[in-house]
């Protein structure tokens, strides 16, 4: 509860400051790509007419599924690479080499393989995030203090129990930080993946307004996407606080 209030205060503060800066910029620069925030907020009700909920829902679904898939694939692979020398030898060069490949350039491929609906969109999010997850999990696995294993294994733990009691809790804090960064990446990639095959999504909303040169709507979309991003970030923070209390002591 306290946490929520604290985050609420941060939200309000940040929101006001940003808007102050925005207002200053719009007044000082006086160019029409930076409209006066007051004008923008006056138009706020239009986003409800535009059914912004549907857009938010569509984007969240894509991000959520992409993230979930990356975790389901990335965490086991990362753990495997952290523990098995053979797996690491084979997979490390592959991961290392694929990491900097710009996944967005693979759009034609994903589009043909998984269609132009959510399939290819989720695939792109997955491709971008999964490498980060794998590398981060592998690195944090290799940073686990060896005595943790000794102690647990000597108590009779089998592999599954070691992963449950040592590996997963140890990698969790870094994984959550990583998910936060990944979420940011996923949000900014929305512009790319919601530019085709859909009429819903926050990325689509902003792009549509942009193509109509409707800067008021565009800024409304940006405000909405920022608030949604903020809420996602805060959720991760709260989860981290709950399950990783030990790490922030």
């Amino acid at each position: 509860m306290n946490r929520l209030i604290k985050h609420g205060i941060i939200f309000v503060q940040g929101f006001l400051l940003i808007n102050l800066l925005w207002w200053l910029a719009s007044t000082v620069l006086d160019i029409n790509v930076i409209p006066n925030p007051i004008l923008v907020y006056k138009q706020f009700p239009t986003i409800f007419e535009d059914n912004i909920y549907i857009h938010i829902g569509a984007s969240l679904k894509r991000i959520g599924l992409g993230l979930l898939l990356s975790l389901l694939v990335g965490v086991p692979i990362g753990i495997l690479m952290g523990y098995s020398k053979i797996a690491n030898k084979i997979l490390y060069p592959l991961i290392y080499f694929s990491y900097p490949i710009p996944k967005t350039a693979l759009l034609p491929v994903t589009m043909l393989l998984w269609g132009m609906r959510d399939g290819s969109k989720i695939a792109i999010i997955f491709l971008i995030i999964v490498f980060q997850v794998i590398v981060s999990v592998r690195d944090s696995v290799s940073h686990i203090d060896r005595t943790m294993y000794q102690v647990t294994r000597s108590a009779g733990a089998n592999k599954r129990q070691i992963i449950r009691h040592v590996t997963l809790p140890a990698i969790l804090p870094e994984l959550l930080t990583n998910i936060r960064v990944s979420l940011g990446t996923a949000v900014s990639i929305l512009f790319f993946i919601e530019a085709y095959g859909t009429k819903h999504g926050m990325g689509y909303y902003i792009l549509d307004a942009w193509s109509r040169i409707n800067y008021i709507d565009m800024y409304l979309g940006i405000i909405v996407i920022s608030i949604v991003g903020f809420i996602l970030f805060v959720s991760i923070d709260i989860i981290a606080d709950k399950i990783c209390r030990w790490s922030s002591l």
Partner: protein, 225 residues
């Protein structure tokens, strides 16, 4: 019971021992009741107290202490619960059970690690300076607790210490390690095992002998340069 100058490789030895066992490469054989089987943490219970305590930072003291039981899915009887509570009491950590390792003082962490090792009733016990961060009173109590528990199950024990008195009090067999590549400088069986500070001349002589061994190692080290 292993003695040795600082940095001579005692922790490394204990870690290797623990590592070898836990990686079950099976070089170490555990002899009990005339049957010799390769050591296996699945069958034998092995309790380890590393120099840095080795508590899992994401579990509270209580969860840490009970983890070995949970891993082995042991049924905890009424009397066992009493025994565990007694161990908590003797080590004076009842009030700390819900703290995380990061919230403990150096000595408290060590006591939690000792409790965890004792609670699991180990067949083999590896301890690296388990009493070093304790004040004298707590240390004496911990030593007594160790002897009590040792007498119940007589686990094979390897204990690293800096204190000659502790070695003579708790050790059946005392090994002094040299500085050069972990060789053994001196070995002796200890007749004073379990006796608190006897005043006999032989005891003092044994103490002197061990002291000399420690100094010799050091001299050896300095001249070997």
């Amino acid at each position: 019971m292993i003695l040795g100058t600082s940095g001579c490789g005692k922790s490394t030895l204990v870690n290797t021992l623990a590592g070898t066992i836990t990686s079950t490469s099976g070089d170490i054989v555990y002899v009990k009741e005339q049957q010799s089987k390769p050591l296996n943490p699945k069958i034998h219970k092995i309790g380890i107290i590393p120099q840095n305590c080795g508590l899992l930072p994401w579990k509270t003291v209580k969860e840490n202490c009970l983890l070995p039981l949970r891993i082995r899915k042991e049924q905890v009887s009424e009397s066992r619960i009493k025994e565990i509570t007694n161990i908590y009491k003797s080590l004076d950590i009842e009030k700390l059970l819900h703290k995380y390792p990061k919230e403990l003082s150096g000595g408290q962490a060590q006591r939690a690690a000792i409790a965890r090792a004792f609670i699991m009733r180990p067949d083999l016990l590896l301890m690296d300076e388990p009493f070093s961060a304790l004040d004298e009173i707590t240390r004496e109590e911990a030593r007594e607790l160790f002897l009590k528990i040792w007498n119940q199950h007589k686990p094979t024990t390897v204990l690293v210490t800096h204190s000659i008195e502790e070695a003579l009090y708790l050790g059946n067999r005392i090994i002094v390690m040299g500085t050069d590549k972990g060789n053994i400088k001196h070995q002796m069986d200890n007749p004073y095992f379990g006796q608190l500070s006897p005043q006999s001349l032989e005891y003092l002589a044994a103490k002197q002998l061990l002291r000399k061994q420690l100094i010799k190692t050091e001299v050896g080290e300095q001249t070997s340069e």
